[in-house]
């Protein structure tokens, strides 16, 4: 009798898992059907729609996940993001909701990799903060180090013409404070005509009346785009950071960890009928805001120096210890300065 009840319970459990899986897929299909059907709409300008007329929801044979080949681990990895301010990473889940804060406390090297010890502080609920370990999977550089830029800029060359109308972003013969500005010259020239960006000085100096355009003169152009693109380039905070010489060489970094015991995993979609992994691996992509974040940038720079030293290979152990000590010092300073 007991066995009979156990079988009934098991059957219910399997059915529940299947139903929820089908439901997850149905939701996904509905979302995509909605998106696909949007292509039948006419444009706001009443031009005939010229896009592809249809797309198919999904084709092919269903496969069990985990077979992505080159990944050695079959564990599910969930990519989430966060931003480092001071020594605290504000972690957001895959739906961009606040997840928890990770306060970095200490760094060490384990098997040739940088491992960070942190304290996970929930942003909602009554769960207590817990210690956790994260390790560095990789880094992404946005800028060259300033010293490299200076080497290029110091190449001895003579200006052809003394520059009267200087571009404040790039003094003649020197590296622009913002590496974007020079390269933007080329990139922008591919866009709509590169017009107003070029002019810095008036052509009718001394308050003289400007000459009139003769009739039939070929005109220059103006567009709202030109206005937008000829304004200073979109100054993201990271670009502003580069202006201040705050390049680190590892402006974005990727950490890996498992959630502390008892913390609920967050997911966007049910994974095809698989039972969710109780403690999936999370990959946290961290960017470092450059506004009002001197401490965060220093910590990032110190981490980057450790990574560089690690990658420089053998014979660098003394330097590695120094860099690690400097990073730990910064983390300790940041921890002690942080309000409790």
């Amino acid at each position: 009798m007991r066995r009979h009840w156990a079988m009934i319970c098991a059957a219910f459990l399997v059915a529940a898992i299947n139903v929820s899986s089908v439901e997850g897929q149905r939701r996904g299909r509905a979302a995509r059907i909605e998106r696909a059907s949007g292509t039948h709409l006419r444009s706001s300008n009443d031009y005939s729609p010229t896009g592809p007329y249809s797309s198919v929801i999904a084709v092919g044979v269903h496969r069990v996940p985990g077979a992505v080949p080159a990944s050695d681990s079959n564990a599910e990895v969930r990519a989430i993001s966060g931003s480092l301010r001071g020594n605290r990473i504000a972690v957001r889940d895959s739906q961009d909701r606040p997840f928890f804060d990770l306060r970095l406390i200490r760094a060490r090297i384990v098997q040739g990799r940088l491992e960070l010890e942190g304290e996970a502080i929930p942003v909602t609920g009554r769960r207590a903060s817990v210690r956790m370990m994260v390790d560095l999977g990789g880094t992404l550089a946005k800028y060259r180090p300033p010293e490299d830029e200076q080497v290029i800029a110091r190449t001895p060359v003579t200006p052809v013409t003394p520059a009267a109308g200087q571009n404040p972003a790039q003094p003649p013969g020197q590296a622009p404070a913002n590496p974007e500005s020079a390269s933007g010259l080329g990139q922008l020239s591919q866009a709509t005509q590169s017009t107003a960006r070029t002019a810095q000085t008036p052509t009718a100096p001394g308050g003289k009346q400007a000459p009139q355009t003769p009739p039939g003169q070929t005109p220059g152009g103006r567009t709202t785009l030109t206005e937008a693109i000829t304004a200073p380039p979109v100054q993201t905070a990271a670009v502003a950071g580069a202006r201040l010489g705050a390049t680190t060489g590892c402006e974005i970094f990727f950490l890996r960890f498992r959630l502390p015991e008892g913390w609920p995993a967050r997911t966007t979609a049910r994974r095809d009928g698989r039972r969710p992994d109780i403690r999936p691996i999370y990959q946290l992509g961290v960017m470092v805001p450059s506004r009002d974040n001197k401490r965060g940038e220093e910590i990032d720079q110190a981490m980057c120096r450790v990574v560089r030293t690690l990658q420089s290979g053998a014979g660098a152990s003394e330097r590695l210890n120094e860099e690690l000590a400097r990073l730990n010092q910064l983390l300790a300073q940041a921890s002690s300065a942080e309000p409790r």
Binding site: P65, S189, T195, A199, A210, Q217, T218, A269, G285
Partner: protein
């Protein structure tokens, strides 16, 4: 259960994916197109006719959001509030680099790929580019000549519509053009000045021409679709074009493929790897992750066309496993992932043209600039570096920036700001980066994207040749502006742009006749697995100075013709 086997699976729906789908479907093949991103709805997604006051952040976008979600993408001029939804979220689609060796990997994942926001400049390569190694000894020649590509350039240009002016220059072959867009008077002044200067220095290659751009100035010569309209000059192409006036696969090649009834487009299909047949050793299909449901699926085809973008196609090959379990396929040569290139920028000059009248003449938006094709190191080595550069730029009137430097105040000052619009002129160089084995990508299995697929580790660095070139670009641009009578010239001799910033990344699965030195043969077919074709920028052997997309498309059309013949002959 029987499983459908397509004649061809095309991975990617951008410039090359669209052409592969069109060519293969029109030749009677049953084609499946897999696109990693979502469908695009022009009514919802295009903002070309929005004014800044229509947008909450006045066109600049939410900078905090851009910095947090698109810290790399927002470095592209087009990734603003009008068009940042056409660019990927950098933390969902990450990659890694070594510290201090940045790479700007600018990507768009949607139906149409980056053709929705591309620069549209369309130039043919010449034998100066395709056989450059024979001239200067660096690297390898392409396995094809200009005459192999020319008929396919014709096919592509007739269909996409390229406006431009024939110049009869050997280093920049003329195409089949629609009427050119007019030059501004500043540009005409530059053209006259530069061409006189060219006579003076005895350089017959030096010429100023209007940009050759894939925008309709009238109906395209091959107007089989009949849906695209000539440009109405609103000027914000990279926000999307309701009239389909500039070429995008969304408005041109994909509809042409789909109307055959033999092409199927699947969106949100993130391809992870190619699956091989254990019996034949050939590709039998591809494996993809559904971006919406995260379901894993496998589809089957008789041949695979990788058109996902140079680095993405290489990533798919690197992430696939050969039958003996080794990581990476089509890599018996060991060069898969190597010889990554991009155009180097950062050298140029700008100035003013004070002799031109400053009365404003506001005529909206020519979506084009001027072009000065490469004229150095062609028939003789006249520069202290290998290869060369071309210039792109333009001349026009300042709209309001002159107010910052105009003297005075009060009513008279305001009147002058309104009435006196000075002419500016600028030239920016696009330099050829040499193919270096060390500039490479490989898989980083410690980091994955939002779909669990290992990401690329990109390791690129420009070297001495490029450092010398960027300085020369600035000096030469200033000379040309001076020859045109420009004043107040500001020279930019660098720093060099960050690799990737040109958004012309190419190489990593190069073509070649020798299977020991190349991944693909002269028809873009993998040496190792004959039913895999890679026809996007990955196939590049050397980058030249010309914007590459036209060549990507021509080379795709050529590979498709060959593949269909091979398939029909039973060799695939």
């Amino acid at each position: 259960m029987t499983t459908k086997v397509y004649d061809a699976i095309v991975v990617g729906s951008g410039a090359t994916g669209g052409w592969a789908a069109k060519q293969l479907a029109e030749k009677g093949l049953d084609v499946l197109v897999l696109e990693a991103g979502p469908q695009i709805d022009p009514k919802r997604d295009y903002k070309q006719h929005y004014f800044p006051y229509h947008l909450p952040f006045r066109g600049f976008g939410n900078r905090e959001e851009l910095e947090r979600k698109q810290p790399i993408q927002s470095r592209c001029y087009a990734c603003n509030e009008y068009g940042n939804h056409f660019f990927v979220n950098d933390l969902d689609h990450p990659y890694t680099t070594p510290p201090d060796r940045p790479f700007s990997y600018i990507r768009g994942r949607q139906v149409g790929g980056r053709t929705l926001m591309w620069g549209r400049q369309s130039y043919r390569l010449s034998d100066y580019d395709l056989k450059a190694a024979s001239r200067d000894g660096w690297g390898e020649d392409w396995p094809i000549e200009y005459k192999d590509l020319a008929p396919y350039y014709d096919i592509v240009e007739r269909f996409i519509g390229v406006s431009g002016m024939p110049e009869n220059l050997p280093q920049l072959p003329d195409g089949i053009f629609l009427p050119p867009m007019p030059m501004t008077c500043g540009e005409l002044q530059l053209k006259r000045g530069v061409e006189e200067y060219a006579k003076k220095i005895g350089n017959p290659f030096l010429r100023v021409t209007i940009g050759r751009t894939a925008i309709l100035t009238r109906k395209p010569l091959d107007d089989a679709l009949g849906t695209r309209k000539p440009c109405h000059y609103c000027g914000r192409c990279e926000s999307g074009c309701h009239t389909g006036s500039y070429f995008s696969s969304l408005h041109a090649t994909l509809p042409a493929a789909l109307r055959t009834g033999r092409a199927t487009l699947v969106t949100d299909a993130v391809v992870s790897h190619i699956v091989l047949d254990r019996n034949t050793g050939r590709a039998k299909g591809v494996y993809y992750v559904d971006a919406v449901t995260r379901a894993h699926r496998e589809v089957f085809g008789r041949m695979i066309f990788l058109c996902a973008g140079a680095l993405e196609s290489t990533r798919i090959l690197l992430n696939s496993r050969s039958l003996d379990g080794a990581e990476g396929i089509c890599n018996s040569s060991g060069v898969l992932g190597h010889y990554l290139m991009d155009h180097m920028m950062g050298g140029g000059a700008r100035g003013t043209l004070p002799n031109l009248p400053t009365k404003p003449f506001f005529r909206d938006g020519r979506p084009n600039g001027i072009y000065i094709p490469r004229f150095v190191n062609l028939e003789r080595r006249d520069r202290p570096f290998l290869r060369g550069y071309g210039f792109q730029g333009g001349s026009g009137q300042s709209l309001w920036q002159h107010a910052k430097t105009l003297p005075g105040f009060g009513a008279d000052f305001k009147r002058r700001v309104r009435e006196e619009h000075p002419w500016g002129i600028s030239l920016g160089g696009f330099g050829e980066v040499l193919p270096y084995y060390e500039n490479h990508v490989r898989l980083n299995k410690d980091v994955v994207d939002a779909f669990g697929i290992p990401v690329l580790h990109i390791d690129v660095e420009y070297k001495d040749n490029e450092k010398k070139m960027v300085v020369d670009m600035g000096e030469t641009a200033a000379e040309l502006l001076e020859a045109a009578g420009a004043k107040d010239i500001t020279i930019s001799r660098g720093p060099m742009s960050i690799p990737g910033h040109g958004i012309h990344e190419c190489g990593t699965a190069r073509m070649g006749n020798d299977p020991k030195k190349s991944v693909l043969n002269k028809f873009n077919q993998a040496h190792d697995i004959p039913n895999i074709f890679v026809t996007d920028g990955a196939c590049y052997v050397s980058i030249g100075t010309q914007n590459p997309t036209l060549t990507y498309m021509a080379i795709t059309a050529r590979a498709c013709d060959y593949a269909v013949e091979e398939l029909r002959a039973g060799r695939i």
